[in-house]
């Protein structure tokens, strides 16, 4: 597992699952459509990855669809990391 995937998944487990929650979060577990993360509490996940990876994700890209799986979140991080490198 690559580092970004691990960091994102660990954050989701810590931030959104209760201690006695037996669910496993895989790369493709539906987070928002599956009711693990709701759109109201999604903001802290967005803020976490922006701060962690020093990226800025515009509102139109920070959609429930883009945040629905670990895989998609990692894609988003990589996309905006590239954009930051290009800018600089």
């Amino acid at each position: 597992m690559d580092e970004i995937t691990k960091v994102v998944r660990d954050y989701i487990v810590r931030e959104y699952l209760e201690e006695d929650d037996e669910r496993t979060i895989t790369d493709t577990t539906p987070l928002i459509s599956g009711g693990i993360v709701d759109s109201f509490s999604m903001v802290s996940l967005l803020r976490f990855i922006e701060k962690k990876y020093s990226i800025d994700i515009p509102d139109q890209c920070a959609t429930p669809e883009a945040f629905d799986t670990v895989e998609r979140i990692v894609e988003l991080v990589r996309r905006f990391q590239k954009a930051e490198v290009t800018k600089s």
Binding site: Y16, E18, G35, D38, F40, S41, V43, S44, R47
Partner: protein
Amino acid sequence: MSFVDTVRHRYQTDLEGIKAAGLFKGERYIHSPQSSEIEVEFPVGSAVRKCINVCANNYLGLSSHPEVVAAAHAGLDTRGYGMSSVRFICGTQDIHRELENRLTAFLGTEDTLLFPSCMDANAGFFEACLNEQDVMIADRLVHASIVDGMRLCKAMQDTYKHSDMGHLEEKLQEHQDKRSRMVITDGVFSMDGDTARMADIVALAEKYNAMVFLDDSHATGFMGKTGRGTHEHCGVFGKIDVITTTLGKALGGASGGCVSGRRELVELCRQRARPYLFSNAVAPVIVAGALKVMDLIGASTDRRDKLEWNARYWRGLLKEAGLDLKEGDTPIVPVMLYDAKLSQDFARDLFDEGVYAVGFFFPVVPKGQARIRTQLSAAHEKHHLDAAAEAFKKVGKKHGILGLGRKELMARAVA
């Protein structure tokens, strides 16, 4: 005309989708005043039948109380029907201010401002009092109206796991760089019926220099020894910065709500809160009825005491019957079914047994968490509760769910 056939067809398809998912809500028509027993037409076009109501927010049984009704009549005669104005233009009567002062004294705050509803109070408060320099930290199960109000505000948003004080403390530590922090919670959570840990929240707020916002709509009038709310219940009366609550539940059940708290915050709402500035004043008839409610609950705790007994008794009956309940110490007692269709069938069968209850399912509660939310009232007598519990037992037996725990019920659920 823009509602052409293609547009109409699109919306019809959306509605069919809701029905196909088993998530369509229908209305039932009540032909009597709100009370522990009501007369109901269901399905539409059927003969009206009497049934025991176990799903109203009529916690103190005051929704149709003769003294409240008489006071409302008197209010119509002395102050008229409607103000035809927002408050700040020509919509404020002396009785509006009188009610605000009564609520201030009852809730233990510095000032109060009425709104057309608590939904409006929650919609208006955050935007009026916080900005991008601040952070709002809300319990994840706060009422939908609070979520909507927070979304209207430019302050940063964050959330903590439901009633998890460790997680709240982490968030308060994380946001020490903001100008202000505001912890936001319901007092009694409307879907689960549990109570916020207000003493812990207030202690953390003091430790980390945060304000506390409490929506006490499902608590005002009956939680705490004298019914002042969750803050009294938890021993932190007088320590809450902002309380919003409703007149549409225990306090008469008509409509209206308020923001009550630190005088500067309330005054800012008076100056800036959009629902206050742009929506009609609470009608005089409602204010008059609410003033009588304040007289009644101030004179005696009999009603909240009876409600407390009723809730304890009801919970015992349902547990004995083998139903899966959410734990709690409030008059909200959810019977967990987890499956949306089951909750609707169960409610339908209860109605056939003379009990009025409604299935709650997505989006009102999370997917897979469907339930029948029962609510007690001081208007319930013991024979109502005994009869209603028998109905739950009979219907529970029919659906084969008695004695099943959460895991077994969830395994059977499809939605």
